[in-house]
């Protein structure tokens, strides 16, 4: 590790590393190959909040599935602290876009589920669950079933469940896409508070540039067809204490949003242009 090789040094200390990762699918209808990811290289430092933004079809969900261990990449590799990711593991918590909490468990039992699986003693579990219930603002709803909660509250349960098992890395796949705009802003502010407090390493996927800049330490813009890393943009304001009220008036944040928007929009136009040539079937299969 020489001083001149900053990248190697940072990769060595990184929590999560991705090297030369590529993946592609065969479209079941047309039989043509859909290139989802092409030679992705990333190094995510401990405690870093990375947001990944890109047009639909840029392979962001595929990337997350590989990091979670649900999908084996066809080329390249992903590692946590140097050990290869081959299957889902407790070191990586996932918050899904769909509501993935169990309808037949109460809020309390959903949040404590990971601890239950780890056979954490009941009293320890109860304490931890109570703590997290408070942290995500669900006190008083412990004995409700998911169908009695609003969309935003359900996603709070999912977040609390992931946090309860205390994974080092948290992977989030557009977790706030299904909630209304007002609730989303509240959830985003809460997520900042939660991640700063608990010092988690987060890999967060979104298609909203505002969300990406607001939440992240660093925003990675992906290009589509094939999915490539287009640029990595450092967000100029520290994450501590970011709120929507202050951020909308901060000119440096506005400039950052503009920059990322420029990258993604250029990509979006390129996508539209190529779509008019590309066949429609292949496009549908991209996100799967």
């Amino acid at each position: 590790m020489t001083a001149g090789n900053a990248e190697a040094a940072s990769a060595a200390s990184a929590t999560l590393t991705v090297n030369g990762l590529s993946h592609w699918f065969i479209d079941p209808q047309s039989g043509s190959t859909v290139h989802a990811l092409d030679d992705i290289n990333l190094a995510i430092q401990p405690g870093e909040f990375i947001t990944v933004v890109g047009p639909s079809g840029c392979g962001k969900t595929t990337l997350l599935k590989i990091l979670a261990g649900f999908l084996k990449p066809l080329a390249g590799e992903a590692r946590v602290h140097g050990s290869l990711i081959t299957k889902p593991g407790r070191d990586r918590g996932v918050v899904f876009q769909e509501l993935a909490i169990l309808p037949w468990r109460t809020v309390r039992r959903n949040i404590g589920h990971g601890l239950e699986i780890q056979k954490v003693p009941k009293d320890v579990r109860a304490k931890k669950v109570a703590e997290l219930t408070d942290l995500v603002g669900l006190r008083g709803f412990e004995d409700h079933y998911p169908h009695q909660l609003s969309g935003g509250m359900k996603q709070r349960v999912a977040v609390a469940r992931t946090w309860a098992s205390d994974p080092e890395i948290i992977l989030m796949d557009e977790p706030f896409a299904a909630v209304d705009a007002m609730t989303r802003q509240t959830l985003q502010e809460e997520l900042i508070r939660l991640t700063v407090e608990t010092k988690k390493t987060v890999f967060f996927i979104t298609h909203s540039v505002e969300e990406a800049v607001f939440l992240g330490d660093r925003v990675i813009a992906l290009a589509a067809r094939p999915g490539r890393v287009k640029a990595s943009v450092q967000v100029p304001v520290p994450r501590e204490g970011r709120t929507w009220e202050t951020m909308t008036h901060d000119p440096s944040m506005a400039a950052c949003v503009e920059e990322v928007l420029g990258l993604v929009r250029g990509e979006h136009e390129a996508t539209l242009a190529s779509e008019s040539h590309a066949n429609a079937d292949a496009e549908q299969a991209q996100e799967t």
Binding site: R90, W104, R105
Partner: protein
């Protein structure tokens, strides 16, 4: 299959009376027609019994209750075996897409050869009596329960499976906490229709292949021109069927499944 009742904004006393009085009217009409036919045509007891005579059957015929319990006992054993085997086999088959696809056409075919068609062969295998009736009940209910369970397992969202994998859950834990509860709505509807089919199968099997039971009793009654027993028996069969479905399985379905908000109220 039923309409969702409209919310009643203002309940007048009249609407309450209507709610309970309306369903009784058709039954009164029917009894009215029945009584008039007897008064006008005066048919023989073997053709049409008097309503009062039918009502007296459960209290005056010594054979009534033993036959009811004999039929219910056969239903219980056959259905219990069908429920256990059907749900277990259904979960195993549902877990493997390949196996479920492989077995699919066979299950459809077995469902098409209805339980009743097995009666003659079952008589040859088990002889006349309880074993044969239990087999027919099992046969009638098993394939329905099995097919519904497979469907239920296949319909559980994959994301629930995955979310537990990321929490480090074992295969068995996922089976107990995701697959089974997730499949439960379909399992319950399979059990409900399976029990209905099983009850019909008991009666059919007893008609030709038993020496006791409600089915056999009403069949013999016909030879002795005792239409009061036939009608009382048929009504009993209906009442028992309704009690089992509406009083036993429907509330069970509501209690577990609706609490989780998995399906809308359907009854």
């Amino acid at each position: 299959m039923t309409a969702i009742p409209m919310p009643v904004l203002r309940t007048s006393p009249w609407s309450k009376v209507k709610k309970y009085a309306l369903p009784i009217i058709p039954f009164f009409l029917l009894i009215g027609v029945w009584v008039s036919v007897i008064a006008i045509a005066d048919p023989a007891i073997g053709i049409l019994p008097r309503p009062l005579k039918v009502l007296q059957v459960p209290f005056q015929e010594d054979e009534y209750w033993p036959n009811v319990t004999a039929s219910l006992g056969r239903l219980f054993i056959g259905f219990l075996v069908a429920a256990v085997t059907g749900v277990l086999a259904g979960i195993v088959a549902g877990l493997s897409r390949k196996f479920a696809d492989f077995i699919g056409p066979l299950v459809t075919a077995m469902n098409a050869i209805s339980g009743i068609a097995w009666i003659p062969l079952a008589i040859a295998w088990f002889g006349i009596g309880r074993g044969m009736v239990v087999f027919i009940v099992w046969n009638g209910a098993f394939f329905l329960i099995f097919a519904n369970t497979v469907l239920g397992v296949r319909m559980v969202p994959e994301v629930l499976d995955r979310s537990l994998q990321t929490l480090g859950a074992s295969r068995l834990h996922i089976l107990r906490n995701v697959t089974f509860p997730g499949a439960l709505p379909h399992v319950m509807s399979g059990l409900r229709s399976g029990l209905g089919f099983g009850w019909r199968a008991v009666i059919a099997a007893e008609l030709v292949g038993a020496t006791s039971g409600l089915g056999q009793w009403i069949f013999i009654a016909q030879e002795f021109a005792r239409a009061d027993i036939i009608v009382a028996g048929a009504l009993t069969i209906g009442v028992i069927g309704l009690i089992m479905d509406r009083g036993l399985l429907a509330p069970l379905e509501r209690r577990t499944i609706e609490r989780w908000g998995l399906v809308e109220s359907s009854a």
